[in-house]
């Protein structure tokens, strides 16, 4: 009988253990999770790494390794030159890009200029494909987050296409290869194929067009996408394709949505702000007081390109003919100086852009006004165009110099193109204009020469497109390279 009691007790314990087992194993670790709730999907956007056009890898520990930025356009733009004493401190791919060489990337290099966009694309894909299955949240919120992810995904494709696909030309876009369209968050994918340039643009436009109405009407942050930012993206894409009529419509929509915002939007009036940003006793620091991109009221949606590595290396100087475009009282000249930015002890071979230390390649007011102006000028609304350019110019220099003289349509477009060169000198954004204007019979203003001390490097039309990095070709043996 005593023995029986024992058996009974053990069977009881064992049963308890087996039944309680599921509960026992059902403990969730803190701090980490799998994406389930609307807060998770929303939180995936609140990631510092998505603010820059940077290449990064996440580690299982939750840490992030920053690999670099997709910054080759800084080196490939035609408004700068360099000196070997400084350029040789750059990475080989940056040096090769400056020389417009055919083979820019090293055989074993993880290319930042490819990775940056696809790494961010994964996060946007995950949200776009899964947020509708979140366990909580209203359908409206889900749709809004999905739209934000789809629009950003389209934007990533737009950028990477403008590195590795030939410049848009309606006649050839459907025959030339662009970049892979990746719409799945799946690490098991292999053998990517390059969609044609037209297919990528069609994808980008369709995704943006469908997403924009679902985006938040109000801008809540410069780091989160709203309808204003969405329309800007769409306008920027059409603008890049040379479709100025469609661009104009989208950009006007952007402008109309600006008033619905929780963060202030306004151009800085350099006539007053420069006094506090710029210190005459330390001109080499430039306009060091310029707010950062997250706080700048000129930014609608931030995708920033850090200039720190260029400034640190003192390696790029704005060409003299570009500097000559500035009126002497243009306050934007405060951003440029011919000494090293740290302490002004080294006199450089040229004048470098030293501030602010990052520029926004995403949606910004200066680019909005300049694109609006150009679209209006190209569609022969010269009055509208004049107004937009002057809105910007008045904020950049004393009113007397800001007025635009009366010009013919073509001369006016050329004036606006020059204004773009002034506003964006040394920011790398010229790269996108070079590609846009390369096929423009009337307004091609490319200056395909890079001076490196006594050596001159010439830009051949093929090198308006980077070749596919060797490492990517190694992963995708069937992928065709560019010429």
């Amino acid at each position: 009988m005593k023995r029986f009691g024992f058996y009974f007790l053990f069977v009881l314990i064992l049963t308890y253990i087996l039944v309680g087992c599921d509960k026992f194993l059902d403990v969730k670790p803190k701090g980490k999770d799998i994406p389930r709730t609307i807060d998770h999907y929303n939180g995936l956007f609140n990631n510092n790494n998505l603010v820059s056009l940077g290449n990064f890898r996440s580690l299982p520990s939750g840490a992030t390794a920053i690999l670099g930025n997709a910054d080759l356009p800084l080196y490939m733009s035609d408004d700068i030159y360099s000196s070997s004493a400084y350029l040789t401190t750059n990475t080989m791919s940056q040096q090769n890009a400056f020389r417009w060489l055919d083979n820019v990337f090293l055989p074993d290099e993880d290319p930042n200029d490819w990775g940056a966009f696809y790494v961010q694309n994964y996060i946007y894909n995950l949200i776009a494909n899964d947020v509708m299955d979140a366990e909580d949240g209203t359908p409206e919120t889900k749709k809004q987050l999905q739209a934000e992810a789809r629009a950003n995904r389209a934007y990533m494709h737009f950028f990477v296409l403008n590195y590795f696909g030939i410049p848009y030309n309606a006649a050839t876009a459907s025959t030339y290869a662009g970049v892979p369209i990746v719409t799945q968050a799946d690490v098991g994918q292999t053998n990517f194929t390059r969609a044609t340039v037209k297919e990528v643009y069609d994808f980008v436009i369709a995704e943006l067009t469908e997403s924009i109405p679902q985006l938040s009407a109000q801008t809540i942050s410069r780091l989160r996408l709203s309808q204003a930012g969405g329309y800007f993206m769409l306008g920027q894409v059409y603008f890049q394709m040379g479709d100025y009529a469609n661009a104009l419509t989208a950009l006007k929509n952007c402008q109309n949505n600006l008033s619905n915002t929780a963060v202030p939007f306004a151009l800085y009036n350099y006539n007053t702000t420069m006094n506090s940003w710029y210190s005459p006793s330390a001109p080499w620091r430039g306009a060091s007081g310029h707010p950062n991109m997250f706080n700048s009221t000129e930014n609608i949606y931030v995708k920033q390109m850090p200039l720190t590595s260029v400034i640190q290396r003192n390696c790029l100087y704005v060409k003299q003919n570009i500097l000559n475009l500035f009126a002497s009282d243009d306050l934007r000249l405060r951003f440029f100086y011919n000494k090293n930015q740290q302490n002004g002890t080294i006199t450089l071979p040229g004048t470098q852009r030293n501030s602010p230390t990052a520029v926004n390649w995403g949606s910004s007011l200066p680019n909005l006004y300049l694109m609006l102006a150009e679209c209006k000028a190209r569609t022969n609304d010269l009055t509208g165009a004049k107004q937009d350019v002057e809105t910007l110019r008045k904020m950049r220099m004393p009113a007397a110099s800001a007025t635009v003289p009366s010009l013919s349509q073509n001369d006016f477009i050329k004036f606006i193109l020059n204004e773009r060169q002034r506003e964006f000198a040394g920011t790398g954004m010229r790269w996108f204009d070079m590609r846009r204007l390369a096929n423009d019979a009337t307004f091609n203003n490319l200056d395909g020469k890079h001076q490196l001390d006594a050596d001159t490097y010439t830009l051949r039309p093929e090198r308006l497109t980077l070749k596919i990095p060797p490492k990517i070709l190694a992963y995708n043996p069937a992928m065709k390279d560019n010429q």
Binding site: Y7, N46, S58, F192, Y475
Partner: protein, 787 residues
Amino acid sequence: MFYDLDNGVIDQVTANKRIDSLGGLNNYSQIKSNLMQPSFLTNHSLSFTGGSQFYTYYGSVAYTNDQNTSKTDLNRYQLNLRQDFVFNPSIKLDLTTNLGFEDSKDFVLTDLPGSINNYLPYAMFQDAAVNNISQAYLKRYEPFRLDAENKSKVSLDYIPLNEPGFTKNDNSNFSARMNAGLSIKLAKGLNYEGRFQYQRIVNDGYTYYNNNSYKVRDELVYFTQAATTPTGTPTYYLPNSGGHYLTSNTNQIAWTARNQFTYDRTFNSKHQVSGLAGTELRSSLSQMHETYRRGYDFQTQTYFLYNEQQLATTGVTNPVLQKTGATFNTLNSTPETFAEDETRFFSLYGNGGYTYDRKYTMNASIRMDQSNLFGTDKSAQYKPIWSVGTAWNLSKENFFDSKLFSNLNFRLTYGLGGNAPRPGSGGPYDVIFARNSAQFAGLGTGYIIATPANNRLIWENTTTLNGGVDFGLKSNKISGSLDVYDKTTKNLLGFQPLDPTTGWYSGYANLGSMRNRGVEFQLNTTNLTKKDFSWKSVFTLAYNNNKILELKAYRALTFSSKVNGQFVEGYSAYSLFGFDFIGLDNKGNPMARSANKDTVRLISQLTDADPVYKGVTQPLWYGGLTNIVNYKNFSLSFLLVYNLGHVMRRDVNSFYSGRLTNNYPVYFNDRWKAPGDELKTDVPVYIANVNASNSQRYVNLYTQSITNIVSASYVRLRDLTFTYNFKPNVLNKLSMQNFSVYGQMNNLLIWANNNYGIDPEYYNLQNGTRTSKMPAFFTIGLRTTFK
């Protein structure tokens, strides 16, 4: 000096004089006497035992003091007690309690510009009068420093040996463990065993840097704006009094509960049946809390506040010192860190065996594990692993009639083992971590993806076939065993490089398959037994050969994945490849022969066929030899270990371009300096500019050349112990049971098959770098038991 010489400020004679005076300086002895101490460990322990038929106990107390070479001082106190209760012949309980307390103080010397192992030899720590001297010159160009000090009114001087005086630290550790076991005889042959263990470890520590500490002063200057008037006060954005106070607290709780039934019974003295079935629950919880306070006053326990949000986002514009390449400085600090990790496991296991007439045995086992670990599906965890085996004891057969063997037993087992995809590394779900950053304040918690989902992952499985024989000779002088195994692992799990187009650079994946084959042999011999003298030895020998059968590569093999990687399909794991180096060219740059016999100099000329296989970094043959010799009261034992047949890279100098900021291997002196040197040396020329160097050559052709791959084989005398046992008649008078004196010497001698003084045991064989070596050490002890 070189700048002054170049600019004509000084002439060659003065320059030589100055170089020579620097060359005469060596801080080795100052580092040794001020930053290190000889390591010294003392250990005292006392044990006691007692009890009755129904209750026995064994207890011990111990004290350890450990002063290691990096000047850490540690005290440890330990209390152990084991109690055994016998309630009746079939119910027994044991209870073990361990308590430990540990307290340590570290020697903290922060912000040393460089590693102490390759510190610039002429950077002295003390002057001739043994005063601590400044090394601020290693931190910052002096005019910049003076300017910054002037603007911030904060000293930026750096006197390394004064720094430890500006810090305080203490770390304590308390651990308690209770282990209870219950054993009950339920029926003939059937036993229940239960074991429960609870353990708790609490760790508390702090480090304090007061406001004289360089770390505190230097950070402050980065967040200070100069005064606008010469007499004004600078604006400090961080507290300018008080220091940095860091605390850390960890708490670990772990428990295990195991219940098992065992059965062992022989029927009719022919059928022996044994079995075991049980469950095990394991839980482990660790919690961590760290704080970081600035402006803390250690005495009053108060601190000053500063604006974290502002410093993290808008930062400080026009600071006295700028962070490189920035126009404004931002501070990303984490004043509090919390972390918690909880893992739970549940296992079910069992095995059964049957032996007939002590000759023929069959057995089988099975096991299943489940865990709460994250990102895995529970359904995927129900995957049992199993094995079956059989044995035949030939020596028990009636027909066995050998004059030589007393025991001869043959064994054969086959099993399937498995490894689930490691949770936290990859699974069917993306794993996200919460990460907030100041820019997104007000927009909700931020999340980053730590690992991507991969639902193609399957279990790694290993099939093992093992055959063996145990033998013993009639004379009882020789016994041993020989085992042969063949193990094939499929769907190996590990990290694999990925196409960045997917959005990831590497991911956890099923990599491929690998086969391991080997032999293990053990021989126990009694070599001599005389009246006062005996000599016994144990010899072990193992041989392993493996091959990577398949390695799924999502991209083509490159030369670098061969030379820098360790796993190449068709070769053994940990293979070492090198370049077929042929010497230096007339500019001092290395040249190598490619697979199609061309001479190559640049990285772009290399293909995956060029690296040459030179062997593996894991020993092919390894084992040991133990000898025990007794003569009267003396006893001597020593252990020889050997590792043979593997290779390693030499520790060549790898510094050939860039700024010289450290101390480098002496091989640097042998480098190519002038045309013609290529006939005398293989060491490449030094080119100051990194990119100029990279664009004209590939130094690895030399550093990773096959000529720099050498044998890593070695034999080591691991330890030698000498014991003297006092005679019983002496002990009786002192009422001692036994008393012995022993001396042990460890890591004594090594015979290594290389000419470079490399000890392969303290060495990274793949990269060719030395690691901190454990020196030979001596232990002297007394051991006694009182009656």
